[in-house]
């Protein structure tokens, strides 16, 4: 599957309160949450993000709370993929579990600017920056995790296993 979209770039340690402030945790659907995604650190994001756009960030993306509302808000905003230098542990699990593609690739993050258009091939694990022509290779997921991704998330994966 190939994804294509423009870059929204952020720094290190983007926490889950930044992704979706706790004052909105009295809601739980992706559509509702998406309207407030990133609003405390970037008021322009929720209104301007286009389907397919990508979030590119530094180290420890998604640190803090276990709230699954964070990847849900990002997915609900139409973001096709999050690329970061590294991810916080719970966010990493949550994103995979709900079927939000995430890629850890420090080199790619360093070579990108806001507004760059990227093409991401999830199977091949490659990220192409269409502005520079540079191609980056990500570390492939372990087979077990790839199994969850291919099943479409942890729920379909578990449903299959419980049969």
């Amino acid at each position: 599957m190939t994804l294509r979209g423009s870059v929204w770039k952020y720094g290190d340690n983007v926490d889950t309160d930044a992704i979706i402030p706790a004052r909105y945790l009295n809601m739980s659907t992706a559509e509702e949450l998406a309207r407030h995604c990133m609003e405390d650190i970037d008021t322009s994001f929720a209104g301007a993000v286009q389907p397919g756009d990508m979030i590119v960030a530094g180290e420890n993306f998604g640190c803090g709370s276990s709230r699954e509302h964070a990847p849900l808000a990002i997915k609900g905003a139409g973001v096709s993929c999050v690329i970061a230098k590294s991810f916080a542990r719970i966010f990493y699990r949550n994103a995979i579990n709900i079927g939000l593609p995430i890629l850890a690739c420090p080199e790619a993050v360093a070579g990108m600017e806001k507004g760059d258009v990227l093409s991401v091939d999830l199977e091949a694990g490659t990220i192409t920056n269409m502005r520079t022509g540079q191609i980056y290779h990500t570390t492939p997921f372990p087979p077990f995790i790839m199994g969850i991704i291919q099943a479409g998330g942890l729920i379909p994966y578990t449903r299959e296993k419980m049969k």
Binding site: A22, L25, I41, N60, E68, P71, I90, G153, T158
Partner: protein, 424 residues
Amino acid sequence: MLRGHTLAEKLIASHVPDSAGVRPGDLVEVSVDVVLANDITAPIALREFESLGVSRVFDPAKVVLVADHFAPNKDIKSAEQCKVMREFARAQGILHHYDVGRMGIEHVLLPEQGLVLPGDVVVGADSHTCTYGALGAFATGMGSTDIAVAMATGSIWMRVPETLRIEYTGTLQPWVGGKDLILYTIGQIGVSGALYMAMEFAGPVVESLPMAERFTMSNMAIEAGGKAGLFAVDDATRAYVAGRATRDYRVFASDPDAVYARVLTLDVTSMEPQVAFPHLPENVHPVCKAAGIKIDQAVIGSCTNGRLEDLRIAAQILAGRHVHPDVRCIVIPGTQQVYLDALREGLVETFIEAGAVVSTPTCGPCLGGHMGILAAGERAISTTNRNFRGRMGHPDSEVYLSSPAVAAASAIAGTIVHPDEVMQ
């Protein structure tokens, strides 16, 4: 010859059927003793549970549901979320569903009620589930979907973590305790310093640390990116669970030849009370560097510091003194039992006479939910665990993290101070 195992490896291996031992990096299916969710994470978990097509939870005695974040219901949407959880609990016959009147802040409540014991594996849809590591249990936070699967199947996949062992040596100064130790540690290693790892707290200083302070330290392992924050079981742990445990428990310890990703030794002798400046828990400085910073609010409570021992320290400082006229001081007992004990000991009277407000147990202001939200430009000192931008309210407000002693002293002074300054 094969090397020994860490406490984290042993706890996980004991919950993997037919395991001959696990190593860091192994991906394993782990059976769980307790599965936890709260009023903000349960609604998503229950939706996912339903989509699994399962009719019953794996064991109604091992699923714990606590209405603590936005409870007592702060608005209609929160009321609906608590209702979803309550109806599920009733339909499933969940034994441990804690609603208003019996509830407390989950990570103060579960150990208090004896629901988590040494040797357990616990998963919770709350990042501070790592608090139970203080009991020698492997406890870690996950998202709602993971928790839905654990509720249905009684097991969940985990990656066996490497362990970062931290040994504390030296002698603690007055007014320096568990909160200062963990803040200092996060300041040293950073908010991703233990990413994907189990933290193991050890050394002579923590061996003599009371349980309440161990809970505080384990609680904040996640603030360094940690998967768990573990203590070895000792006499203090056994004394804590005696009278609470209603089932047998198992005790594990790291082997002397266990291999660690890193061993860090920290001498605490010259350590002052610590304060984490906005907007990351790693921005830690000794309290003297925060001197003179004016505050509008002081919050004493939370899953980090809402235990009776924490309230006793705050009361000791507030007794016979007055909260500064420009400060709102909010004290939040962690559970109904903590509240009742504080009442009987006269602590609540002390707080009220000092001009503080005493709230029902709730996570409330810690995550900017209710009961003490900050306006733009306002600043709080808080015994909670996170000071991210906007955490306690407006994105232009600020949170400084500290111990109950520093928070109480600062509430009196109106500026951040060392407790010695108001106790003279």
